[in-house]
């Protein structure tokens, strides 16, 4: 366990506006080096060579000189889970038999030998599709100049999986949509998103279930469209989602106000007084409190503290801070203690 310091550090790419629909934005480029087999085909020695090349090359890029470079095989299971919780790495990067690596900036990371040689990703608070794209794009250009990527005119950037070809660009935003969940309208929203080529997933991305009304929404199509097309599409979609959510909220408040308030204040009480709480329960309590804040209820909890509760009390965060292995029950107790600490 090597992340005990980082495990108490707040996450910067979280919107501190507590009632907002949009928590964060993520931009990710899939890229491959020209002269190597893709990670799934490369042998261990070639994977090692690619990692070495990337680690060395990145250190020459302005702004990335001092970024931490992690060799995944050095990390224990808690560290690996921690990187996923921090949204710096994917499940496929940390649990793989490939020689994998991670270059870690504050709000940006480069995964090495995930499905592709490089997965460059940048995170930022709230909904900021264009700005985050530009930031990520600037980093991608610098790296491209240093390495040269595999691409051609017909298929764009060449990726290991055909689902990422062309732009290799996946933009997603984390949306909090409790009113749509409570009103039952979320099903229609998710179905409709799928029809227009937009994916909705759980908080941690691929293969994770949605918890507490948090959804990760991203473009599916990466080829045959421009980067600008992708941004415009997601911008339009985000506005529609916001509108639908506001409508659902108005309806809830007009028809089920007392029920809602009861639910929200109960959740507030639990956060304040629980002596043991699972992470799954915590997400749904925080979701209720966020909902309350967006309704304008007077709850003495700002967005920053809510974000800390949500992110710094994830299982591997608690284990990292503890520094030694811990049972699930002990972890739930420590989580409850941590919440009371934040509540002051």
């Amino acid at each position: 366990m090597i992340f005990s310091d980082l495990a108490s550090k707040s996450i910067r790419w979280q919107s501190s506006e507590p009632g907002s629909h949009f928590v964060s934005t993520r931009v990710r480029f899939a890229r491959n080096l020209k002269d190597h087999y893709f990670p799934n085909r490369a042998g261990a020695s070639e994977q090692l060579k690619v990692r070495k090349e990337v680690f060395e090359g990145v250190s020459g890029i302005p702004g990335w000189k001092d970024a931490a470079r992690l060799e995944l095989e050095e990390l224990d299971i808690v560290d690996r889970k921690f990187l996923i919780e921090r949204h710096l790495a994917s499940y496929d990067l940390v649990f793989t038999d490939r020689v994998a690596g991670l270059v870690m900036g504050d709000d940006a990371a480069i995964m090495v030998n995930e499905e592709d040689h490089l997965r460059i990703q940048v995170l930022s608070p709230g909904l900021s599709l264009e700005k985050t794209f530009e930031e990520a794009s600037a980093i991608e250009k610098k790296i491209r100049a240093a390495f040269g990527f595999a691409r051609n005119d017909d298929f764009g950037f060449l990726t290991a999986c055909p689902t990422n070809a062309g732009t290799g660009l996946r933009i997603s935003f984390l949306a909090h949509l409790p009113a749509l969940v409570l009103s039952g309208y979320i099903g229609e929203v998710i179905d409709s998103l799928a029809r227009v080529g937009v994916a909705s997933r759980g908080v941690y991305g691929e293969a994770t279930k949605p918890l507490g009304g948090f959804f990760q929404i991203s473009n599916q199509v990466t080829l045959g469209v421009s980067e600008k097309d992708i941004i415009e599409k997601l911008t339009a979609i985000s506005k529609q989602i916001e509108g639908a959510s506001d409508k659902a909220m108005d309806e809830l408040v007009s028809k089920r106000k007392t029920e809602l308030e009861d639910r929200i204040y109960r959740s507030y009480g639990i956060i304040q007084y629980a002596r043991r709480i699972s992470y799954e329960e915590l997400i749904s309590r925080i979701s209720d409190i966020r909902l309350g804040l967006s309704m304008g209820l007077a709850l003495p909890l700002g967005g920053d503290r809510l974000n800390d509760m949500l992110f710094l009390s994830q299982p591997a965060h608690i284990e990292e801070r503890n520094g030694a292995p811990i049972s699930a029950d002990e972890r739930d107790e420590k989580r409850a203690g941590f919440l009371r600490e934040i509540m002051g």
């Binding site: 893709f38 996923i84 919780e85 017909d154 689902t163 070809a165 062309g166 045959g224």
Partner: protein
């Protein structure tokens, strides 16, 4: 592949670790991974690799003769199995098999810049034909070509 720990179940979680100066590969099954605390609410494995299976189901049927990438040795039937290309060269080797697959996934078979370029190339070829038609005073043909150029421009 059998689980390194229980030696009974098939392994579904893979990782490398560093022990006694050497990198070892670990392959463990779902239940041993649960015991080791790999899975929490926020972490789920992908036991089916169903995306790979979807892709292979979408790719051309198995009747086409097999082919091999001359750079990395990946075969078309292997690609059909796992849905992953082996190297940049595979994109050339399997070009004709990829085009229909890309169309099914993305609704397009070509990268956008390239799609525009193709249109431009077509437009300039038509321009040339138009000049030729005008040159031989075949105005009926020229009018037809002009309409085709117009239609092409509208598509943009």
């Amino acid at each position: 592949m059998i689980c390194d720990i229980c030696k009974v179940n098939p392994a579904s979680v893979h990782f490398t670790s560093f022990h006694g100066g050497a990198v070892t590969k670990m392959h463990i099954c779902h239940s041993c991974a649960v015991n080791m605390g790999v899975f929490d609410v926020n972490m789920q494995e992908k036991p089916f690799d169903i995306l790979g299976k979807f892709l292979s189901a979408l790719a051309l049927p198995g009747t086409v003769s097999d082919r091999e990438c001359r750079a990395c040795g990946k075969t078309l039937s292997e690609f059909r199995e796992d849905g992953k290309l082996g190297c940049p060269e595979c994109w050339e080797t399997f070009r004709e098999n990829l085009a229909p697959l890309l169309k099914k996934i993305h609704g397009h078979a070509l990268h956008k810049r390239s799609a525009e370029k193709t249109k431009d190339t077509r437009a300039s070829a038509l321009q040339k034909k138009l000049q030729e038609a005008i040159g031989r005073e075949d105005y009926e043909e020229a009018a037809k070509i002009r309409d085709r150029i117009k239609a092409l421009r509208c598509k943009k």
